[in-house]
Amino acid sequence: MHVAKLARLALTDEEIEAITPELAAILEHAEELSALDTHGVAPTAHPLPLVNVFRPDVPRPGVDRAEVLAAAPHAEDGRFRVPRILGDAP
């Protein structure tokens, strides 16, 4: 299922079978929105009218690196370790 791939979810066949009608029902309910006239109405992404919030540019202590790495599933040499990112060369 394309959406599951986009969402990086390895759903099982049973899950896809269950979720498909559930999502269809939710989207059908949401169809009521398309009946509303929103011509010329600006979208609201956020309730506060904020633009460019700045803070003073002064150094302050961040979180402890060792503490952060200790929480990772795999870390080595001060870095997060992950499986290979690129496939085999063709």
């Binding site: 309910h29 609201t44 506060l48 997060f80």
Partner: protein, 473 residues
């Protein structure tokens, strides 16, 4: 137990914080096995904190406005070195490397944190049945849900495990469980309380707020945690209004509008509607001018919310990729590892919302779903603005029903979502709202009445809430 009373007594040296804590821990020992309000009880840490408060009092120092008050904290707020699960397997065992700002403020105010409370996974749900660690039961009737997603926090206060609690509210997750458990629950104006260290669900909607046994205690807790935080760029920079000092100013001349669409909403129980009408007439008796008001687009809030919140969630939850914290399930490459980790770590409701949000944001569907929902959000805000030209506060039910049986709605996501139909519009607008217990409905279960106000309208909202509380049956 009254938090204001505890803090007064502890500050004056009439009672020790340790003795207050032990009373609460004893109640936890007695009933937590049945209720499951907590994912983690922090008895040792709480004892040390209480002893610290008592030592400060003995030394002649003032430990702060929440001195010695036992408080429960929803398990989606970061506590340094202490497990923070969000009710999810994907974060099981994770110990945050920092404290949320609210945690720091609670400690600075002298509060004693007794534990981390259960919640629907990543705060997605209305019954706390979506927790990976099992549901929380309603202390008023353990065969019923506690509501959600902050069900553990509501139950902790209702069961006397803590005098106060903190929750987060994205679509009603504080107010709805408060109503179902018969306690006070309040969502502040968006940006009033720092979200730094609150694990993000839907960032434009999430807001932290108090649970308490009384309106007065909710104001006390709110004033201890709110205010600008440079660590949250959406935190309101201007000074916030005084709340506690105006609570008992009364409602004489206050204009109160009962929202027609939410009071007559589909599926509302007759006793719930009657409670709202009775609260409205009580405000009238106390000197307020009460009328009905139509806020027509509020009924579209549910549909708009169930596109906007999942869209934001699908983006926020992308961070659970098995790389930096929590669970990892190995795969042959990074993409396979990400997908396998997320498949194993997330529960069904979280997967459903990630799928829904990803779909609503995907190319070709973005404008029809997410874009339209954002425009409807504007319509809802405009309708509220119009209503607040005529009224100081608005009134509605908090939840259309009293607490339902465990399992009653788990098979039908849409039926579960309808639990939040009355609370969602406030989150979309960024406004404050409070749920106040007002009598009982079906089967003698608690009913909550909701008071809504415009942005930063907390003072007038609390005055109305206090008047409702005084007249509650």
């Amino acid at each position: 137990m009254s938090a204001s009373r505890i803090a007064d007594d502890v500050r004056a040296g009439r009672r020790s914080a340790r003795a207050v804590l032990e009373e609460h821990l004893a109640r936890i020992d007695e009933r937590e096995g049945e209720i499951h309000a907590f994912n983690l009880v922090l008895a040792d840490e709480a004892r040390a904190a209480a002893d610290g408060v008592d030592a400060a009092v003995a030394a002649g120092d003032d430990p702060g406005p929440l001195a010695g008050v036992p408080i429960a904290v929803k398990d989606n707020m970061a506590t340094r070195g202490i497990a923070t699960t969000c009710g999810s397997r994907i974060l099981e065992g994770w110990r945050p490397p920092y404290d949320a700002t609210v945690i720091t403020r609670l400690r600075d105010a002298g509060a004693v944190i007794v534990g981390k409370t259960n919640l629907d996974e990543f705060a997605m749900g209305s019954s706390t049945e979506n927790s990976a660690f099992g549901p929380t039961r309603n202390p008023r009737d353990p065969s019923r849900v506690a509501g959600g997603s902050s069900g553990g926090s509501a139950a902790a206060v209702a069961a006397g495990f803590a005098s106060l609690a903190i929750g987060s509210d994205t679509g009603g997750s504080i107010r709805q469980p408060a109503a179902l458990c018969g306690v006070v629950g309040m969502k502040p104006t968006y940006g009033a309380v720092s979200r730094y260290g609150l694990v993000a669900f839907a960032s434009s909607l999430d807001q932290i707020g108090p649970f308490s046994n009384s309106v007065t205690d909710a104001a006390l807790l709110l004033e201890a945690i709110w205010g600008h935080d440079p660590l949250d760029s959406t935190s309101i920079a201007q000074p916030l209004p005084a709340v506690g000092s105006v609570l008992d100013d009364g409602v004489s001349g206050l204009r109160v509008g009962v929202i027609e669409e939410l009071t007559d909403v589909e599926g509302i129980e007759p006793e719930v509607r009657a409670a709202v009408e009775s609260a409205a007439s009580a405000l009238g008796d106390a000197g307020a001018k009460v009328d009905r008001v139509s806020v027509p687009s509020t009924i579209y809030g549910l549909s708009a919310y169930y596109l906007i919140a999942p869209a934001e969630a699908s983006s926020n939850l992308a961070r659970y990729d098995g790389v930096r914290y929590g669970l990892r399930v190995d795969g042959e490459d990074v993409a396979a590892m990400n997908a396998a980790t997320r498949e194993a770590g997330f529960g069904p409701e979280v997967k459903r919302r990630i799928m829904l949000g990803t779909y609503a944001l995907s190319a070709g569907y973005y404008d029809a779903y997410y874009g339209q929902a954002q425009r409807v959000r504007t319509l809802i805000i405009r309708d509220f603005d119009r209503a607040y030209e005529q009224f100081d506060v608005l009134l509605s039910p908090t939840s259309p029903t009293v607490a339902f049986e465990l399992g009653a709605k788990t098979a039908d996501p849409l039926a579960m979502y309808l639990s939040d139909v009355c609370t969602i519009p406030t989150n979309l607008a960024g406004h404050p709202a409070i749920s106040v217990p007002f009598g009982t409905g079906a089967d003698g279960l608690p009913v909550g009445v909701q008071v809504l106000a415009p942005a930063l309208g907390e003072p007038v909202m609390f005055r109305a809430a206090r008047a409702i509380e005084r007249s509650a049956p």
